[in-house]
């Protein structure tokens, strides 16, 4: 004898019972984008008009049309490509190395508290120090060639990646640990099925933060001592009052930052289909 329900039918739920997302009109969906676009256009018009009317001195402020002309010229005669290639190479090597070192080390430090205790003082001290302060040392050790740039970009980038990954592994929900243990999970299984997946959002945040630091590393590294690169180009142009060219450099760095962040966002979205806030 067991407690049996009088009616044995388990009500199957229908798919449309799921929480439905409210649909928005075209305007509601695009409102923010349109507002942003309008404000940017207004700003550019104001800038151009100020320079053209003589109200602002274009030697200092440049203007959208001058920047466009300078940029067009630099791409047409090909002078920019070597700088772009140098900076891109520095970025790929420095950032890549930081990911290769930072992610696994962050995971290990998050998982093994002893390793964390050993390395934590160094990580903390270096993370707190503005990495730019290390530039003179890096020049002494590496000179001013590619390896110095890779070193500064690596040092700028590796800590945000490492620290965020570590935090992700360490802050897994206690409830999930309990579930895993209840199903008899070994330490290795707990690591694979709970610690790793819960660290993904933090890890991706670390990668995104690291990106900003890497771009700073490129510019600073090249301004400090270099013979090519976007930062070097901007430095030379600035020293010779070529405001238009400096602006082109800024735009390239800004575009690179935004573009790469966008790429990371896409990766993030792919990993995070399960996060409610990514479905809005």
């Amino acid at each position: 004898m067991s407690v049996t329900p009088a009616d044995d039918e388990i009500v199957p739920l229908r798919e449309d019972a799921a929480v439905a997302a409210p649909t928005a009109s075209t305007w509601q969906r695009n409102e923010n984008f349109v507002l942003g676009l309008v404000s940017v256009i207004a700003f550019l018009l104001f800038w151009e008009f100020s320079a053209a009317s003589g109200w602002a001195n274009p030697l200092f402020t440049s203007s959208p049309s001058r920047i466009w002309t300078a940029g067009y010229e630099m791409f047409r005669d090909g002078s920019i490509y070597s700088d772009l290639a140098v900076s891109a190479q520095e970025f790929v090597l420095g950032y890549g190395l930081a990911v290769i070192v930072g992610v696994p080390l962050g995971i290990l430090m998050g998982w093994y508290s002893r390793l964390n205790a050993v390395l934590d003082p160094f990580v903390n001290a270096l993370y707190a120090t503005p990495r730019i302060a290390l530039m003179p040392l890096i020049i002494i050790w590496f000179g001013i060639d590619l390896s110095a740039k890779i070193a500064i970009i690596f040092l700028s980038t590796v800590f945000p990646i490492l620290v965020n990954t570590m935090t992700g592994v360490r802050t897994m929900e206690r409830d999930f640990v309990k579930v895993a243990r209840s199903f008899g999970a070994s330490d290795a299984q707990l690591f694979r099925t709970v610690a790793l997946p819960s660290s993904v959002p933090n890890l991706l945040t670390g990668l995104r933060l690291g990106l900003g630091h890497a771009l700073i590393g490129i510019v600073v590294g090249e301004m400090y001592g270099a013979s090519a690169g976007i930062g070097f180009m901007m430095q030379t142009a600035g020293a010779t009052f070529q405001t238009d060219k400096v602006m082109v450099g800024i735009l390239i760095i800004a575009a690179a930052g935004m573009g790469l962040t966008q790429v990371l966002r896409m990766i993030e979205r792919k990993f995070d289909v399960w996060r409610p806030d990514h479905h809005v």
Binding site: V3, T4, P5, A6, V179, W274, P276
Partner: protein, 267 residues
């Protein structure tokens, strides 16, 4: 309950104490619990909040160690979690990065007893058993609270445990959904043919879902009384309107009241 049935769970003089770092003193949570649950039985534990009922359930699951006494499931002493038991947690314990199907597969994956295809098949069957056929590929955040709790039950049933442990399974649900899920749980348990021990702080839920209601005293917990639920075994929600149901409810309420009021008045 007929005594010829096989004993599923046997707790003998279970005591549990731990040292509380913050309060700098020994804290006794369980002060000798004796309980026998037979195969096919549904037993509810109620008691004043903080009395140690969750701790007892965790001890049966093997998540915490007892200080003295022993807990046996099918005659084997419990020292750690094992495949003969499974716990239904509260709704927030579903892995948000796993789909419904993969959440249900979780225990099977860890135990590696079945090949991948067989695991999928078994998980899909359980998703269907709990009435969520169309939702296998959904993520937990896309489901309502009641649906998430169905997934939780399916996840526990997937490993085919001998004893199902439920830790306040419907606590986070609104009143209507809870009532609905109570009768759904009865159907699911009847179909799966499981023995279950569960904790609740809802007295009506305890009576509705069980053959016996175990009332714990305030901490340190002893068993204050075991109340036989002498209601018809074919239960629909109407049973809650019967005079006998009310009488039981009143009786258990008084027992808990005595425990909750006692120490507060004395102290």
């Amino acid at each position: 309950m007929d005594n010829s049935r096989q004993v599923k769970l046997e707790a003998r003089d279970v005591r549990l104490a731990f040292y509380n770092e913050r309060m700098k003193r020994q804290l006794t949570v369980l002060a000798g619990i004796d309980l026998t649950v037979r195969e096919g039985e549904l037993v509810a534990i109620v008691g004043p909040s903080g009395c140690g009922k969750s701790t007892f359930l965790n001890a049966v699951d093997g998540l915490v160690k007892t200080t003295r006494g022993e807990i046996r499931v099918d005659g084997r002493i419990v020292t750690a979690p094992g495949p003969d038991r499974a716990m239904v947690f509260q709704q927030d314990s579903l892995f948000p990065w796993r789909t419904v199907l993969r959440n249900v597969m979780y225990g099977l994956e860890l135990q590696k007893r079945l090949p991948q295809e067989a695991m999928k098949k078994r998980a899909a069957d359980l998703v269907e058993l709990v009435g969520l056929s169309g939702f296998a590929q959904h993520y937990p955040h896309e489901l309502s609270g009641g649906m998430r709790q169905r997934v939780n039950i399916a996840r526990a049933l997937a490993t085919d445990p001998q004893l199902l442990l439920l830790d306040e399974p419907f606590a986070a649900l609104d009143a209507q959904t809870r009532e609905f899920m109570q009768s759904e749980l009865l159907k699911i348990l009847a179909r799966a043919g499981k023995t279950a021990l569960f904790i609740t702080h809802q007295i009506d839920e305890a009576i509705f879902l069980s053959h016996r209601v175990v009332v714990f005293s305030a901490r340190p917990a002893r068993i204050k009384e075991i109340v036989e639920v002498d209601l018809p075994v074919d239960r629909t929600l109407d049973v809650k309107l019967q005079p006998r149901f009310r009488v039981l409810q009143d009786h258990i309420w008084r027992l808990i009241q005595e425990e909750s009021a006692g120490p507060a008045m004395a102290g």
